[in-house]
Symmetry: D2
C-alpha cells in the first residue's frame, strides 16, 4: 500500500482522559449547566456561543419546529414502532426520513432564495422581490416559505419570530426581502400568502449567516424531539394499528 | 364497511387558524421566546414546563449527549451524504440508526436497571446493588452505564451531572443506587468502573420519573443536533471519500 | 500514528479493469444471463450457486416474502414519499425499518428455535418439541412462526413451501421439528395454530444451513422489491395524503 | 366528522382466508415454484409475468446491481450494525440511504434523459444525441450513465447487458440513443467515456417501458441483497470497528 496523502479534519470535538472540548469550549466547565440545548446547537453550527439576543431567537426558531402534531412523519414513526419495537432509533429515523423537500425542506428553499438574491447590487429590494416572484411564476413553482393551509391570514409563529428578531436587533435585509417577496406574491396572485414558519426560520437563519445548504438541518435538529414524544405517546396510547386497519379496509373496499 | 369503533388520541398538539397549543401551552405566547429547546423537550416528554433546577439539569443531560466526535454514527451519516447529497434527512437518519443498544441504548439499560430495582422493599440499598452486580456477572453481561475506554478513573461528564443534580435537589435514591452499583462492581471485579455519561443520564432521568422505555430517546433527541453539525463540516471539509478509499485499499490487500 | 496491526477482509467481490468476480464467480461470464436474482441472493449468502432444487425452493421462499399488501411498512414508505419525493431511497428505507421483531423478525425467531434445539441428543424429537412449547408458555411468549390472523386453518404459502421442499429433497429434521412444535402447541393450547409463512421460511432456511442470525435478512432481501412497487403505485394513485388527513381528523375528534 | 369522499386503491395484492393473489396471479399456484425472484420483481412493477427473453435480461440487470464491494453504502451498513446489532433492518436501511443521486440515481438520470428525448420527431437520432451532450456541457453537468473510474475503456457489465438484450430482441431506439450519446460525448470531450452499468440498465429499463421516475428503484430492489450479505460477513469478520478507529486516529492527527 502506498499510503496516499490524505488529510482528514474535524473541528467539532477533542477529548482526552479528563477533558472534552467542543468547538473550543470545555464541555463540563463551559457548557453543561451553563448553556441550554438551543445554544449548544448554535455552537455546533456556528463555532461560538450565541449572545443573549441570538440565543432567544435561535431557541425560539427551534422550539417552533419541534412539534407539528399528526403528520406523515409522526405517522411513519408510529407505524415503524409497531413493527420494530426493539429499535426506538429506527422509528425516529423513519420519522426523520419524511422531513424532505415538501415539509422542512422549504426552510432551505426560502434561505437559498434570500441568500442568492442580488442584494449587493444597486437594484431596489422591491425590484429584486418582484423579479423573484416573476421567476417562480414562470417556472410554475410555488415560492418557498409562503402560504399555509390552516394558518391564514397570518401564521402566528412567523409573526412571533419576527417580533423576537426585531427586539434582538436581528432583523435586517433578509427579513425585509422576505416580507417584500410576500407582498409582491400577494399582489401578483391576488390572494393572501402569509409568510409561514419555515419562511420565517429561513429568513432569520439567513440573518444569522447560516448557509442555506444546512438550513434543512434546523428542522432535523428540532423534530426528533417531537418524534420521541410521539413514540412515548404511542407506547401509552397506540394508534398505529388503527391507522393500518383502517387503510387496509379502505383499500379492500376501494 | 362497518365502522369499527376506534378511538385515536394524541395530547401533544392542537391547532386552529390562529393558535397552536402544545401540551396545553400556547406555542407563541408561552413557549417561543420564553423557554429554551431543552425545556421544550422536557415539556414534550413530561407534559409540563420544568422548574429552574430541572431545566438546568435536563439541559445539561442533553447538552452532554449532542457531540461525541468521530463515531460509527457520524461516519455512517457522512458516508450516506456522499452518495445522496440531495437528501440531508437521509444522512441524519443513517446516523440515528447507529444509536442502538451498544451506544445510547445504555441509557435505557441503566434506567431500567434502576427503575426495576426493589427499592421499596425493606432491603438495604447496598444489598440491592450487590445483587444487581451478581446477577449481571452470572448472566455474563456488562452493567449498563459503567466503564469508559478513555475517561478513567472518572467520566468528567458524569461528575458534572451529579454535581448539577445535587445543587438542584434532584439527587435521590436512584443516583445513590447507581453509585452503590458502581462501588459493588468495582469491588467484585477488582478494577475501576466509573459511572459514565449514559449511566449518569439514566440515573437522573429516573429521578425525573422518565420511564426507562423512552430513555434511549434522550440520546435520540440530542444527537441529531451533532449529526447536522457533522454534515455541515462534511460539506466544507469532506472526509467520507477518504474513509471509503482507505477501507477499499485495506480490503484489497487483506 | 502507530499503525496498529489491522486486517480487514471481504470475500464478496473483487474487481479489476475488465473483470468483476463475486464470491469467486465471474459476474459477466458466470452470472449475468445465467442465474436469476434468487440464485444470486443464495450465492451472496452461501458462497456457491444453488443446485436446481435449492434454486426452486429458495426463489419460492423469497417470492413469498415480496408482497404483503397494505402493511405498516408499506404505509410508512408511502407517507415518507409524500414528504420527501426527491429521495426514493428514503421511502424504501422507512419501509425497511418496520421489518423488525414483530413481522419478518419471526423468521429469525423460528430459525433460532429450531437451530438451537437439542436434535443431536438421544431425546425423541416430539419431546424436544413439547419442551420448546412448554418453555414458551412458561415465559408467556408466543411461538415464532405459528398462527395467522387471516390464513386459517392453514397458511397456503407454508403448505406450498413444504411441498416444494419435499419435491426437492430439502425437507429434513428441521421441517419435521417445526411440524411437531405446531402439533404440540395446538394440543397444549387447544386451538389451531398453523405454521405460517415465516415459520416455513425459518424451517427451510435451517435445512439450507443459513445461520439464524441472518434469517431476518431473507425478508430484508425480498421486501424492498415490494416497497418499490408500492412507491410506483403511490406515484400513480396516491393514498398517503388520505391516510394522513383521516388520522388527523380522528385525533381531532378523539 | 363529515366523512369526506376518499377513495384509496391498491392493485398489488388481495388476500382471503385460503388464497393470496398478487397483481392477478395466484401466489401459491402461479408464482411460488414457478417464477424466480427477478420475475417477481418484474411482475410487481409491470403487472405481468415477463416472457423468457425479458426474464433473462431483467434478471441480469438486477444481478449486476446486487454487489458492488466496499462502498459508502456497505460501510454505512456495517458501521450501523456495530452500534445497533439488535436491529438488522436498521443496518440495511442505513445502507439503502446511500443509494441516492450519486450512485444508483444515475440509472434514473440516464432513463430520464432517454425517455424525455424527442425521438418521435423528424430529427435524426444522432442530432438528438449531440444536442443532449451539448446541453449537459452548457449546464456543466456530467452525463448520467457514462464513465467509470476503474472499468475502462469499457464496463464489461454494460457490454454483457447489451449483448443479452440483443439476443432477446429487446434492443431498440433507447439503446441506440445511449450509444450515440456516448459517441458524441467522447467526440466532444476528446476522451473515452464508456457506457457504464447504470447507463445500460437505464437504457434497457427504457426499452421495457419502465417509467424513469421509478428506475432508481431497480437499484433499491437489488442492493439490499448485497447489504444483507455484507452484514453476514460483518458478523463473521468485523471491519467496522477498524474503520472507526482508523478514522478517529486520522482526525486526531489531522
Amino acid at each position: 500500500m502506498t499510503d496516499s496523502p490524505r488529510s482528514m479534519h474535524s473541528h467539532l470535538s477533542r477529548s482526552s482522559r479528563d477533558r472534552i472540548s467542543i468547538r473550543g469550549a470545555d464541555l463540563t466547565d463551559d457548557l453543561m449547566g451553563k448553556v441550554n440545548l438551543g445554544d449548544m446547537a448554535f455552537l455546533e453550527l456556528m463555532g461560538r456561543i450565541p449572545d443573549e439576543g441570538e440565543s432567544r431567537v435561535f431557541n425560539a426558531m427551534l422550539v417552533a419546529l419541534v412539534e407539528h402534531g399528526i403528520t406523515p412523519s409522526t405517522l411513519a414513526a408510529r407505524l415503524t414502532y409497531l413493527g420494530a419495537p426493539e429499535a426506538l432509533q429506527g422509528a425516529v429515523a423513519a420519522g426523520v426520513l419524511g422531513l424532505g423537500s415538501v415539509f422542512v425542506g422549504t426552510i432551505e428553499g426560502a434561505a437559498r432564495m434570500l441568500q442568492e438574491a442580488p442584494l449587493d447590487t444597486a437594484a431596489h429590494a422591491r425590484d429584486v422581490a418582484a423579479s423573484i416572484v416573476a421567476r417562480h411564476r414562470e417556472e410554475g413553482k410555488s415560492i418557498p416559505g409562503l402560504g399555509h393551509p390552516i394558518h391564514t391570514p397570518v401564521d402566528p409563529r412567523a409573526t412571533r419570530l419576527f417580533t423576537l428578531a426585531q427586539e434582538a436587533g436581528l432583523s435586517g435585509r433578509y427579513v425585509d426581502l422576505m416580507h417584500l417577496i410576500a407582498e409582491e406574491a400577494e399582489r401578483a396572485l391576488g390572494r393572501r400568502l402569509p409568510i409561514n414558519v419555515t419562511g420565517a426560520v429561513g429568513a432569520l437563519a439567513s440573518e444569522m449567516r447560516i448557509p442555506w445548504r444546512i438550513c434543512r438541518g434546523l428542522g432535523l435538529m428540532a423534530r426528533p424531539i417531537g418524534l420521541v414524544a410521539h413514540l412515548l405517546e404511542e407506547m401509552q396510547e397506540p394508534m398505529a394499528r388503527h391507522v393500518w386497519e383502517w387503510a387496509e379496509e379502505q383499500v379492500e373496499e376501494g
